[in-house]
Symmetry: C2
Subunit: 133 residues, 2 copies
């Protein structure tokens, strides 16, 4: 199991995530992107218009180590942050139908997942785990 | 000028940003953090309980190259994303009063700022610029 049901429901409920890639100088860049969990491949698929020409696509092609986060505040009083962070390796693919959401994709294979605040009881439980590769 | 008035107003209006640091293996991690623009130092100050013991603090101490983003959707119909991305070098400081918001800080000195969608006219204008170091 890559993600729990609560994590998948949370990923599917959110519109924006943030993808970090590393450039040719070893420096991070971070961009807001859509959130697409692909249940067939159990990956996060980052898609978008002109993706293959973007710096993040070039970065991920050169260095597949990426990180991705989806987060928000379930409430501010009490302060209840929620997040799913994913660290993993990216594949960069182009071609008809490579992803359900587009013909160009940065596909993130999770290696580590850190979830916080997704327990419905609201206890802010922190769940960090490494996945078999 | 490090940030425009519109960028500062936007940073001050948002509760959450995301900070990327690079670990000892050269892999990115990304965490949700509060947003604090420090007008005295013209930096982003990342603070928080137990910060100096966190992985992001250790990462930034070892490798000062970081990236930070604040983003949201001004509206979904029409789709109007807004964001300020900051790439720069971090200082990690501890001691009484090192930051207005805490005694432990990851202080981000911007080297590059990429702002999107902050023009009140809503034209999604993209403003990327490098800053003198």
């Amino acid at each position: 199991m890559t993600f729990t049901d609560a994590e998948i429901a949370y990923l599917d409920s959110q519109l924006l995530g943030r993808l970090t890639t590393i450039d040719a100088q070893g420096r991070p860049q971070i961009r807001a992107v859509g959130v697409h969990y692909n249940p067939e491949t159990r990956t996060i698929d980052v898609v978008g218009w002109g993706l293959a020409k973007s710096q993040k696509f070039r970065n991920a092609s050169r260095n597949p180590e990426v990180a991705f986060i989806v987060d928000d505040l379930a409430s501010t009083n009490p302060w209840r942050p929620r997040s799913v962070e994913i660290r993993g390796r990216a594949e960069t693919l182009t071609g008809p139908g490579v992803s359900p959401w587009g013909d160009e994709v940065i596909r993130i294979h999770p290696r580590r997942v850190v979830a916080e605040g997704l327990d419905p009881s609201g206890d802010g439980r922190y769940n960090a785990r490494d996945l078999p590769s």
